[in-house]
Amino acid sequence: MTALAQSPAGAQKARAVTPTRQKTKANAVPKLRYIVVLLAGIFGILGGQLLLSIAVSGGAYEIASLKSDLRGSQQEQQIVGEEISALVAPDTLATLAGSMGMVPDNNPAYIRVSDGAIVGEALPAEASANGQVFAVTAGTESLVPPRIVEDVFLTISTAAALEADVVDALAPPSDEAEFAETTMSVVSTVSVSETPAPRFGGSIPSPVTR
């Protein structure tokens, strides 16, 4: 009786257990899949984050190098800007013009475009009005011309010396007018072909009409 009574109970137990086990087994495959997907996801995200942060760090190095490039370029711009300022300084221009033999002339005449008439009285510049630059600070400044200005001076004086050499090399001409003419042509040839390109650009400075 007990056995009988037990048996169905046991059977019932066994029956009750078996379906559970069966359920677990049936669910086992999807669970593993979840775990794998979950883990893959986590590692995927972690990996992605790692790659991203590597990329960002790499970017930081690039930014650092670009920043130093920028700084370098700014500095170069400043150097060039300072050179330009030194070259356009009125003192420098006047001295350079004087060293080329230019003299100031305050008496120009103008051609009226409408009828071609000449207005004003053109007078030749006085030779005495040489391009001398006067000290203006009662001698208290310590004048050290910037390097670029010295370079340009050097270029110009080299060119002038070259011209002088070429002129000297010519046979002394008998006719003074002819001499002047020869000199002129030689000078112009030299200045076109032999003058080393000046450092600050190469084109002949042209007057700016204001």
């Binding site: 170069e76 305050n106 008496n107």
Partner: protein, 580 residues
């Protein structure tokens, strides 16, 4: 059975160990995160975080064409830690300390012995300067030396690329603050405020991404634009230097003003100073005397006086008067002329042309002194000009009740009144501009770092005398150039020029002494004046008559006409007679 017990004991021990470990960790956690949290946080931030100064550039002062007159540049201070200075290897080659110093000296034009001394003076010191303010170019060359103990730190420095040319106006910057001129007065526009940022960096010195925090935004300075034409300013300064030193003058001032808008194109003081290096410059040359030093102008005031008299209806160009040799103000007090001492039949134009003190006294007698004082104020004397320069002088016009019997006449020929060169130029601008005084202008405006242009307020023009009075006066001044003693010096071929000379005695403790101020003021082209030029020399030694200022005036005015491409005069002058 015993199996089970053993495993249970093992389990117990393991659990105990786990709990102990966990306990330890929790204790540590609490200690770190709660007990010492603040202290540790600070330490770690200190180690990782670096703060940096974000340099902001002080604004530039530019001329009317945008040329930099004062600007900020990068410079580097080269220094070393004497304890670390020693021989080093470069490309397998040993560079000794003296050799390294020689290399540095070669690049920076320094003295190698001084560099060595700087390091050897105190080998235990932590820091010594080697060379100060090295250019970026030289700094690059120094870096290429790959010298491990060389340090270079960025400093910002003020430079004045044109040197002394506009020094009187720009002023200069001291170590901490602007000292004078536009630099100081317009400091609110120019001033820059450095910013700061913090960031964290890794062991290799590269900043960690996303850690940069701007603590303070840098604010760059704005640019101040002047009305000055620095090419012209240079020319005028050169002319003053040439003639001033020939005359043995103590100093000279000159101004060029554009008539229609009162723009000061050149305001020059000679001698001046180099703002890049003014440590040795005498203090009296550091400012702008044309704006800050009043003087008794002398006869150049006569043009103003005659314009006043014409406008008041007391005379006209052809008016006939007799100029006595001596004009008796009260018994025993005479006004006399510079040269001529007899009765002369002059017209009002003749009074101006011959610069007759007695002649103008006859005319001045017709105008009540209160009216004269009012006119002088209308011309801008006794108050600062529209330039409103730092330390500008207002000169002195005596109040009516203090104008005595003599000063009443003296004022008309520029004694008993003190003016600045700028005020005098402004009064000539009024005469040139049909009697309308446009307040002088030196600073045009401020360009902020955001790119907004804030113009300086424009002063209200004042009609001081009628157009007719001003034009008649200009005609009379033309006779000074065409028929005066200085015609050979003053005439500019092709142009009509109006000018007036002036020689003023300088008052000293014993009255008027032998020292003079010689001046010339004028305008061209006279038929429709475009530019006003004023030149004065203080205490000339080799010649004390106003004619000595004429060559400088002539050169400057000719240059102005050429520089600005002024069309030559086409109408012939119709000038008033001088005698009758």
């Amino acid at each position: 059975m015993s199996h089970q017990r053993v495993s249970r004991r093992r389990m117990g021990i393991a659990l105990l160990v786990v709990f102990l470990m966990a306990g330890l960790l929790v204790t540590r956690l609490v200690d770190v995160q709660v007990v010492r949290a603040a202290e540790l946080k600070e330490q770690s931030a200190d180690i990782r975080t670096t703060s940096e100064v974000i340099w902001a550039a002080r604004g530039s002062i530019v001329d009317s064409f945008g040329n930099d007159l004062a600007t900020d540049v990068d410079r580097y201070d080269v220094s070393a830690d004497p304890r670390k200075v020693g021989d080093f290897r470069r490309d397998g080659e040993v560079i000794t300390v003296p050799a390294a110093m020689a290399e540095i000296a070669l690049i920076t034009d320094a003295n190698p012995d001084e560099l060595l001394y700087a390091v050897n003076r105190d080998r235990e010191a932590h820091f010594t300067f080697l060379v100060k303010s090295v250019s970026p170019e030289d700094r690059q060359a120094l870096r290429d030396l790959r010298n491990p103990w060389l340090q270079m730190d960025l400093v910002r420095e003020r430079t004045y690329p044109f040197g002394a040319v506009t020094a009187n106006l720009t002023g200069m910057l001291g170590t901490d603050e602007p000292l004078a001129g536009v630099e100081r007065k317009y400091d609110p526009c120019l001033r820059a405020i450095n910013g700061t940022a913090t960031y964290q960096k890794g062991a290799d010195g590269i900043r960690l991404p996303g850690t940069t925090q701007l603590v303070e935004q840098p604010i760059h300075g704005g640019d101040v634009r002047l009305t000055i034409d620095s090419d012209l300013q240079w020319y005028v300064l050169q002319t003053l230097a040439e003639h001033g030193s020939n005359l043995g003058a103590q100093y000279g001032s000159a101004m060029v003003v554009r008539v229609d808008d009162g723009h000061v194109l050149a305001a020059v003081d000679w001698p001046t100073f180099d703002p890049n290096d003014f440590s040795n410059a005498p203090v009296e040359f550091l400012g702008a005397r044309s704006l800050s030093s009043p003087y008794e102008p002398g006869s150049i005031m006569k043009s103003v006086g005659i314009a006043m008299l014409i406008d008041g209806g007391y005379t006209y160009s052809e008016d006939r008067i007799v100029a006595p040799g001596f004009y008796e103000v009260y018994p025993g007090q005479y006004i006399k002329n510079f040269l001529v001492a007899d009765n002369r039949q002059l017209t009002t134009a003749g009074v101006l042309q011959t610069s007759s003190n007695t002649g103008i006294s006859v005319l001045a007698d017709r105008m009540p002194k209160a009216e004269a004082t009012r006119y002088l104020h209308d011309f801008g004397f006794g108050e600062i000009t529209g330039i409103d320069f730092l330390g500008e002088s207002s000169g002195q016009v005596l109040p009516v009740d203090r104008v005595d019997a003599l000063t009443r006449y003296n004022q008309f020929f520029g004694q008993g009144i003190s003016v600045t060169a700028a005020q005098m130029a402004s009064s000539y601008q009024t005469l040139a501009n049909d009697g309308v005084r446009v307040p002088l202008r030196l600073v045009d405006g401020c360009m902020t770092s955001e790119g907004d242009y804030v113009p300086e307020p424009v002063g209200e023009p004042v009609q001081v005398v009628s157009a007719s009075a001003a034009q008649q006066t200009v005609r009379m001044m033309e006779t000074v150039v065409t028929q005066g003693a200085l015609r050979n010096t003053l005439e500019i071929p092709g142009y009509r020029v109006a000018a007036k000379t002036g020689t003023a005695e300088i008052a000293n403790s014993e009255g008027y002494g032998g020292d003079r101020v010689i001046s010339l003021a004028g305008m061209a082209p006279a038929e429709d004046p475009e530019y006003v030029v004023l030149v004065s020399f203080y205490k000339p030694q080799t010649s004390r008559v106003s004619s000595a200022a004429a060559p400088a005036f002539h050169e400057i005015l000719s240059h102005v006409l050429k520089h600005y491409r002024v069309a030559p005069s086409s109408e012939p002058a119709v000038l008033p007679p001088l005698t009758w």
